[in-house]
């Protein structure tokens, strides 16, 4: 089955202060995009440049920008869940399960009612009963942030996908796939930083869903190697959303998108750090990729 994916997707790394180039750029992003108006301005520029999809975590600035931008209803949002950075930060103080339970305890009364008493009972008894149930409830909890938005698909965070890959067990990925399809009627997507190792494993497990993975001419974050990833993109027949196409900012859009021209890629996700960068980057993408 082929899933309909938006060809161009606006990424959210700059909105979260992520830069692979320098600390000064990271600080600029953190300061500039702390104001939701600046996030909304980039959303508008991307929209004007023809982009109709955004992928993001449930960070406060991005969620507020969605409220402000008047054309949000015309955008397909691809949530990345769970917000792994938030859990990792809490884990130093509370431990990994402590961070998860802390999140669960933070459910509002509205959320608890929405999730149902069944969920609360499970959260309380999680450590002695069923961890998978708790993970499901957390997944549902994370989805509540996006419930008023028009969703294009749901992306499992790369850290979780890659942890599941390393356990050599398909259960977590199968459950994610089933829940997103059955409970939300949406298409599940797996993000990964280990594309060349994940894809052969998915073939063995007979899991065929779109993958979001780094793809760029520098081989940046293409594991286990650029050559192995390129071969799989061309031959495996999986739908691919290419990310890190600008190699963390080391490639100009012209060079980056030209590299993708002969690759079997369904969609491209790119983060941009300003309004002018949005107009330029997406104009180049549309021109070269003939979108």
């Amino acid at each position: 089955m082929t899933v309909k994916l938006d060809r161009l997707i606006l990424g959210a790394n700059p909105f979260e202060g992520v830069s692979y180039i320098s600390r000064s750029q990271s600080v600029h992003y953190l300061e500039y995009f702390a104001k939701e108006d600046n996030v909304a301005a980039v959303l508008e520029a991307a929209y004007n440049a023809g982009v109709r999809a955004v992928t993001c975590s449930n960070t406060a600035n991005v969620m507020a920008a969605f409220q402000k931008f008047p054309r949000t209803k015309d955008l397909a949002i691809y949530p990345v869940i769970p917000n792994a950075y938030e859990y990792a930060m809490e884990a130093s103080e509370k431990g990994v399960l402590g961070a998860v339970l802390s999140k669960a305890k933070g459910f509002s009364m509205y959320q608890k009612v929405k999730l149902g008493l069944r969920a609360i009972a499970k959260i309380k008894s999680v450590l002695t009963k069923d961890v998978m149930d708790l993970l499901l409830e957390l997944l549902n909890f994370e989805m509540t942030s996006f419930e008023k938005l028009n969703l294009g698909g749901v992306i499992l965070h790369g850290q979780i996908t890659d942890l599941a890959l390393s356990s050599h067990n398909p259960d977590i990925l199968s459950i994610f796939q089933d829940v997103i399809r059955e409970s939300y009627d949406l298409e599940p997507i797996l993000a990964t930083h280990n594309f060349g190792l994940l894809l052969p494993q998915l073939i063995e497990w007979k899991i065929k869903i779109p993958l979001m993975a780094p793809l760029n001419s520098k081989g940046f974050m293409m594991k286990p190697s650029k050559e192995e990833c390129e071969k799989l993109v061309q031959e495996a027949g999986y739908q691919i959303i290419a990310k890190k196409v600008l190699a963390g900012g080391r490639l100009a859009p012209e060079e980056a998108f030209s590299y993708l021209l002969d690759k079997k890629v369904d969609s491209v996700v790119v983060g941009v750090g300003s309004v002018s960068e949005a107009y330029h980057t997406f104009a180049v993408a549309k021109n070269i990729l003939k979108i």
Partner: protein, 348 residues
């Protein structure tokens, strides 16, 4: 064809780093995840349901007796490393110990003595030794690109503590201290790796939010009179991840090393690098990692340990190196407490 020998590895301590090391060990072809141990019995459910095929034990001694692993990756809190390592070493197991070696200098000394003169492979978790950019800087310094070194300024900051926090990490009795031992030990490792064992330390530490130090400033002297300033804090806004900077001044020019790049300024062309500016970006350097999770270098670190177990040689970052870092940490804490410079030779 004879099957290649695999090192059977137990992961002891299943917190954040234990989970990451488990994932990495499970992806190394020459390793077999033999067991997972943690005193928290409740984690058994998680281990079983996450699909990991290795058995879970809440009693390390029982695990050692039943599983008889070849090696262990120890990711327990710092106060437990000695008591966990001792029974492993009694079984002649090879050990990788997450940093720091221990919560106290005395415990680190005991650990180092336990492996002294024995044919045990011992590695420690100073991750920077396995990251491509820091390795590149090491090779540039080792080949003498900057000539004689005069002065070093260094810092490590992260945005983590802005109020009182709970947990062993923020309890000096259990972790051994605050930002210096928990975070800046990585920077101290780099300084030791690049410049050798420190000669003396004068330091001040500062508690702001915690019962442990939230910040520290130290003046360290390295061999050949190399002056080094180090400033560290986990209470600075705007650092979503720990960020390290080292500025090195030498007779041929300067080097600025950060998480993201090396920036060289040379007074004249030297060893293939042009006069004035050259920037080497992390992204442009080849990666030797076949799998990545958590951070760059983690796979290389565990792969290096496993390879060394097979080939019976020392990994990058042994317990002896970890002990030298622990000596610097101890000197910083003693100097701050006694309000005077401490000769590293005093720390025995």
């Amino acid at each position: 064809m004879q099957e290649q020998k695999k090192i059977r590895v137990a992961v002891i301590g299943f917190g954040k780093l234990g989970i990451l090391h488990t994932a990495v060990v499970n992806m190394i072809p020459q390793a077999e995840l033999a067991a997972i141990a943690d005193i928290n019995k409740q984690l058994s459910t998680y281990v079983q349901q996450s699909g990991l095929r290795a058995p879970f034990f809440s009693d390390t001694d029982q695990m050692l007796a039943e599983v008889k692993p070849d090696a262990a990756v120890i990711c327990t809190p710092a106060f437990a490393t000695l008591s966990v390592a001792e029974p492993c070493l009694a079984r002649d197991m090879d050990l990788f110990l997450e940093k720091p070696l221990a919560d106290t200098f005395d415990a680190a000394k005991k650990l180092t003595r336990l492996v002294s003169g024995r044919k045990i492979v011992h590695g420690t978790g100073y991750l920077f030794a396995h990251m491509s950019l820091y390795k590149k800087a090491k090779s540039l310094l080792a080949e003498g690109l900057l000539g004689r070194l005069y002065r070093v300024r260094s810092s490590m900051y992260t945005s983590e503590v802005f109020g009182k926090k709970k947990g062993w990490y923020y309890d000096a009795e259990k972790s051994g201290g605050g930002v210096v031992i928990n975070i800046a030990s990585h920077l101290l490792y780099l300084l030791y790796w690049y410049f050798g064992p420190a000669k003396s330390v004068f330091a001040q530490t500062r508690r702001i939010h915690s019962d442990v130090e939230d910040g520290a400033t130290a003046l360290l002297e390295f061999p050949d009179g190399l002056q080094t300033v180090m400033d560290v804090s986990w209470s600075v806004p705007g650092y979503r991840l720990p960020y390290t900077e080292i500025h090195i001044e030498g007779e041929n020019g300067t080097m600025e090393l950060t998480n993201d790049y090396i920036k060289l300024y040379l007074y004249k062309a030297h060893r293939g690098y042009p006069r004035e500016w050259t920037t080497i970006h992390r992204i442009d350097l080849p990666s030797s990692s076949r799998f990545e999770i958590g951070a760059e270098g983690l796979y290389e670190e565990d792969q290096d340990f496993i390879t060394c177990c097979l080939e019976r040689k020392n990994p990058a970052g042994t317990w002896n190196d970890g002990f030298e870092v622990q000596r610097m940490i101890e000197a910083i804490y003693r100097s701050a407490a006694q309000k005077k410079a401490i000769s590293i030779g005093e720390i025995q």
